[in-house]
């Protein structure tokens, strides 16, 4: 049974460019189906704005099925909105009620400068992955399955962390603007698997230090994990902290033997 929500008020952040002075703009949605996704609601609003000859609201989106990590949006003070374990694109209007006022803001972090309106640059997350989030050895074609035996619980734990879609919700939700959950998920994903062992500590040191060039530090609030559309646990951050400490001694020892 679909219902129609009425009288939704949107307070949306508008900003002309990276250096622009932003402001909240109020828009009314007189009617919307509760089956509409949150982004479809914004699409409908944008079509109306274009028809009225006004500029459409810029926001990030791509796959709209929660796997690409492109959508963002701080909705009513929560990254990806009130639904747990879901990206903004998976949020539907049935989560809201008629007459609601919904506040939409871009993600805010010094490392995530606003490009326009609700769209931010998340390039520093790519810098973190570039500094070690891969295996450097040429691997050739896909190896046979089960060539490297991996215990099921280990591969499951690695996959839980590999689920990270790099959306940056953890940074947006963190009161400190830290990217610890993102970095630790990427690290834990590779560091739990046998293929990741050879470069484990070099990876930990390089990625953590790149992270610290851009982001804040973890004070263990746990907001990141709650905002994460893939519900990645902050256990990963503890594993990262251990690996980083070990990397400091192990990498030095390795270098001193050269």
């Amino acid at each position: 049974m679909s219902h129609t929500l009425t009288n939704i008020t949107l307070k949306i952040w508008r900003q002309d460019g990276p250096d622009g002075q932003g402001r909240f703009e109020t828009h009314q949605i007189p009617q919307i189906s509760d089956e509409a996704s949150f982004l479809e609601m914004l699409d409908i609003l944008n079509e109306r704005l274009i028809e009225e000859g006004r500029e459409a609201i810029v926001f990030d989106h791509d796959c709209r099925e929660g796997i690409c990590g492109t959508c963002s949006l701080m909705i009513d003070g929560q990254a990806h909105g009130p639904q747990q374990g879901a990206a903004t694109c998976q949020l539907h209007m049935r989560t809201f009620s008629s007459g609601d006022e919904i506040v939409i803001e871009p993600w805010r972090a010094t490392a995530f400068p606003i490009i326009k309106d609700l769209m931010v640059s998340r390039a520093p997350l790519d810098r973190i992955v570039e500094s070690g989030g891969f295996i450097t050895a040429p691997t050739g074609g896909a190896p046979d399955a089960n060539l490297i035996p991996i215990p099921k619980p280990v591969s499951d734990a690695a996959m839980d962390n590999a689920a990270c879609i790099g959306c940056g919700a953890c940074v947006a939700a963190c009161p400190n603007g830290a990217a610890s959950l993102f970095t630790s998920a990427k690290l834990t994903h590779l560091n739990l698997l046998p293929q990741g062992q050879a470069e484990r500590y070099k990876r930990a040191e390089a990625m953590v230090e790149t992270m610290e060039d851009h982001f804040g530090s973890c004070t263990n609030h746990g907001e990141c994990s709650s905002a994460c559309p893939k519900e990645i646990s902050i256990d990963a951050i503890a594993i990262m902290n251990t690996d980083y400490r070990k990397s400091k001694t192990k990498n030095r020892r390795a270098l001193s033997r050269r």
């Binding site: 929560q78 500094s131 907001e223 503890a238």
Partner: protein
């Protein structure tokens, strides 16, 4: 909309520049993760101290005891003298105590230094705040007020030293007469309230700090993770209950200095 990316040379882990040449400890401390290690370790030292300090203070409830030589003295004063005489045949009097004090002073100094450094990093990481209200899901009052409760505890600590250690703010302070000083100080209602406020702030600080230190030190084991919260709640409750009981006991008259009960009352020994 085109965006110009400023990126350096793409560096794989294999070609990462050699680690910095700073000594290991300084290298680690220069990073945010390293500062969190320092926060956790110095916090653990502080936790060990406040628990020991609270247990030592419970001795005020034992009142007067008769020593083997027949002299009667307050048990907490005997305990104070014991601390000064720690390791005495091996080291001169108060040497070990001063050693422990230096460890504590260094821990407090590093804890504050690292906290200031991390606060500055975190402020810069979100220079422009959210313009609408945040709706926190997991972050609790304790975790979000660490800087406030920490500052209150630091100010309280200075007061506490000026009051019962140095006696700057306690006119009748007598060095070494712990029981007498406690009675004199905490009989003042505003001072007793200050002690209660300081200790509640400490309890809130520990509620998040003790849980947090397990994460910072990487002590994470799915089998024991639930215990980390229990340990945090337990140690915070223990400290608050024990320490708040002292001003309450003094105001209620449970702890009251009685010069007739001891062999050498305060005032006499100074003559």
């Amino acid at each position: 909309m085109t965006e110009t990316l400023s990126r350096g040379p793409v560096t794989g882990t294999a070609v990462k520049a050699p680690a910095k040449k700073k000594p290991f400890v300084f290298d680690l401390y220069s990073t945010a993760v390293g500062k969190k290690y320092v926060m956790a370790i110095t916090g653990l030292i502080g936790l060990g101290f406040v628990i020991t300090h609270m247990i030592g203070n419970l001795k005020m409830y034992l009142g007067v005891v008769t020593e083997s030589d027949g002299e009667r003295a307050y048990d907490i004063d005997i305990y104070g003298e014991f601390l000064r005489e720690l390791a005495v045949p091996l080291l001169p009097r108060t040497y070990l105590l001063w050693g422990l004090r230096l460890v504590l002073i260094a821990a407090v100094a590093l804890h504050i230094h690292a906290a200031i450094g991390l606060t500055s990093i975190n402020r810069h990481a979100r220079a422009v705040k959210y313009q609408s209200a945040r709706d926190y899901q997991i972050a609790n009052f304790a975790s979000r007020s660490m800087r406030w409760t920490g500052s209150i505890v630091a100010i309280f600590l200075v007061w506490h030293l000026a009051d019962l250690t140095w006696g700057f703010v306690l006119p009748d302070h007598v060095v070494g007469a712990a029981y007498y000083n406690i009675d004199q100080s905490l009989s003042r209602i505003p001072v007793a309230m200050l002690y209660i406020v300081g200790n509640i702030a400490l309890g809130i600080h520990l509620f998040h700090g003790v849980w947090s230190l397990f994460q910072s030190l990487g002590w994470n084991n799915p089998r024991f993770n639930a215990w980390r919260r229990y340990i945090a709640v337990g140690s915070a409750a223990l400290i608050v209950a024990g320490n708040v009981s002292f001003p309450v006991a003094v105001m209620a008259g449970v702890v009251e200095y009685d010069p007739a009960a001891v062999t050498h009352p305060v005032g006499e020994e100074n003559e």
